[in-house]
């Protein structure tokens, strides 16, 4: 494979990562002022801001790689739904607190495993970003794991809601460790970890927490949704972008 092909794959890939982080940050931001208690309201937005920071770094890097005059803001605010390539999991609605916790937990387990691998990337920018993000994500995972356990091993109602949330979001977890063509190419070239190889570890760590929470692990061989990473989304993404991009679309280039 030529270097040029790698560049294209890397552009797609960095944008995909940036989109995933931004969309989850936006979702968590929706909790601002609506958290179940003040302390958790802040915890959720802290996590959201960590992800937003990571996405900023990634969009800046993507803009450098694309080198077509677009800035990180253009990439975040002026791209359409089918151009976004975030994973489906992160665009799912907040639901009740249990759904938000489940979504975060599935993502955090994956992200931590993945960043550990990415820290060894032959691409220095990605390796640097991974190293910085790893500390933040280690805390995110602690937070979300403990909430899964607290709600699962809590009251009858919290147990039932946590189980339902884990079940409902399960079909969006397969995409995390199913590589697209551009990811396979980059993994083979040493840019990113082999996603499929993370699957067993992911299942193992998820199971450990779910078991401690006295909850039931959904079936590992269940049917999984795919498509986010190639721009095919659930109906929810359009609404998120409408909300998030409104200002830049109405007043293009506006700054404040």
């Amino acid at each position: 494979m030529t270097t040029e092909a790698h560049t294209t794959d890397l552009q797609r890939y960095v944008l995909h990562l940036a989109d995933t982080h931004l969309v989850l940050a936006q979702r968590l931001g929706e909790w601002c002022g609506h958290g179940p208690v003040l302390e958790q309201d802040i915890a959720l937005t802290n996590i959201g801001l960590d992800l937003l920071g990571q996405s900023t770094t990634l969009y800046q890097y993507a803009a450098t790689l694309l080198n077509d005059g677009r800035t990180e803001d253009d990439l975040a605010f002026m791209r359409r739904e089918h151009e976004y390539t975030n994973v489906l999991l992160v665009e799912q609605p907040n639901g009740d607190f249990g759904v938000t916790v489940a979504r975060q937990f599935y993502f955090d387990v994956f992200q931590r495993l993945f960043l550990k691998g990415l820290a060894n990337s032959k691409d220095e920018a990605l390796a640097g970003m991974a190293e910085k993000a790893l500390k933040e994500v280690t805390y995110h995972l602690k937070w979300s794991s403990e909430w899964v356990i607290r709600l699962g091993d809590g009251t009858d109602e919290s147990h039932a809601r946590m189980q339902k949330a884990l079940n409902d979001l399960w079909m969006y977890t397969g995409e995390l460790t199913t590589p697209t063509a551009y990811e396979t190419a980059l993994a083979e070239a040493g840019y990113i970890p082999n996603l499929a190889s993370l699957r067993e570890l992911w299942l193992e760590q998820v199971k450990q927490v779910i078991t401690e929470a006295t909850l039931v692990m959904p079936a590992a061989d269940a049917w999984m949704q795919q498509g986010g990473k190639t721009g095919r989304h659930t109906e929810h993404l359009g609404y998120i972008l409408t909300d998030m991009q409104y200002l830049q679309r109405t007043y293009p280039g506006m700054k404040w």
Binding site: P36, V37, L38, E39, Q40, W143, R150
Partner: protein, 94 residues
Amino acid sequence: MSTNWPLWEVFIRSRQGLDHKHVGSLHAADAKMAMENARDVYTRRMEGVSIWVVLSGNIHASNPDEAGSFYDPAEDKVYRHPTFYDVPDEVKNM
């Protein structure tokens, strides 16, 4: 929800070598959650390197109504301050 959670007092050490200082309080279901809430609420701007959380109920405070008998008697005991004593000129280092 929060009404069922006990109140915790939060103490933060801003730098190694300094004392933990009381910074505020928060609600949490258990010590682990109190610690994380304290981290999320009180150390967002690099305020600390160490956190203590204590159930508010475990703190016993002096009664303001007893302030007279507690503190006033110390007022006329100036000799308890080292500055009350004249240091002889012969003492060089003190």
